[in-house]
Amino acid sequence: MIRVAAVGDLHVDAEGAEVLGPRLARLADDADVLLLAGDLTRCGGRREADALAAELARVPVPVVAVLGNHDHHAGEPREVGARLAAVGVRVLEGEQLLLDVRGSRVGIVGTIGFGGGFEGACGSDFGEPEMKAFIGHTQRLAARLEQRLAATEADVRIVLLHYAPVPETLFGERLEIYPFLGSYLFAEAVDRIGADLVVHGHAHAGSERGMTRGGVRVRNVALPLINRPYRVFSFTGRELHVDGALEIAP
């Protein structure tokens, strides 16, 4: 059995509030890997990233993360990523990672994602350059996700996002802001290739459970929503492989 812990929207400040708290030492009892679904810092400051890195350095299992919009606010997302990477966190943006968990290959494909809306009520890359840039950015990230997912051969495939790929996990948020909370293009990309699970954050007032049109489970793990240090997903009945290697692809 493969156990994956996931949480997003930690919003750590420079004082370094212990987001995982007393659970941190016990994380290895609960899970084989920890996924972080973006908004790891309050506004992407270097001191915030250092505070989070200090805590994540003590996590006893591999940590895989994507950044969120808060991690971009200070204009230095690469700095945030580098400071987390320095303590061993694998920060993904349009990349995949293959982990060997007791002989099973766990493939994780990560991107922050972006907004744009959902089927029947979404923006188009039409008109002003600003609108084309907005939707074009989403389209490029979704295309990259699809490409990286297709290149990921694994026993368990997990997609890690910050923004939501389906509206179901936004229920509870105001309908008017859905286009700023996610885009169906990421669900479409997932459904073209297939995956076992999609986790995301961003929507603090949303709902925990949803599904892509193609039937892939989607889970909103925003910390303010789940109100616990993380959720755990257990994958059973997976074929075992003994030659799994740890690698990251550009």
Binding site: A5, D9, L10, H11, V12, D13, E15, A17, E18, V19, G21, P22, R23, D30, A31, R42, C43, H70, H73, D196, L197, H204, A205, R217, R219, A222, L223, P224, L225, I226, N227, R228, P229, Y230, R231, V232, F233, S234, F235, T236, G237
Partner: protein, 86 residues
Amino acid sequence: MGCGSEPTAYLAERIRIALAHDPRTHELGLLVSVAAGRVVVSGTVTSATRSRDVVTVVRELCPDLEIQDDLRVKAADAPPDSETVT
């Protein structure tokens, strides 16, 4: 700019923008409503300190209004919720 005569919907949005940009908070996910001379702020924050900072920012912006703190601080040590994916 005070808060006395401003339409409540605009004021609520101004408070939300302040909570997003103020370096003490940088909170975008909170619900803010204003009615009957009262500001109600709700949602979940990660610490008691952050909760106090949110109230402080709102109070500085609207010193003349009553503030109802409906914020929830996330549980630090709740057991993780588990789900089996087959």
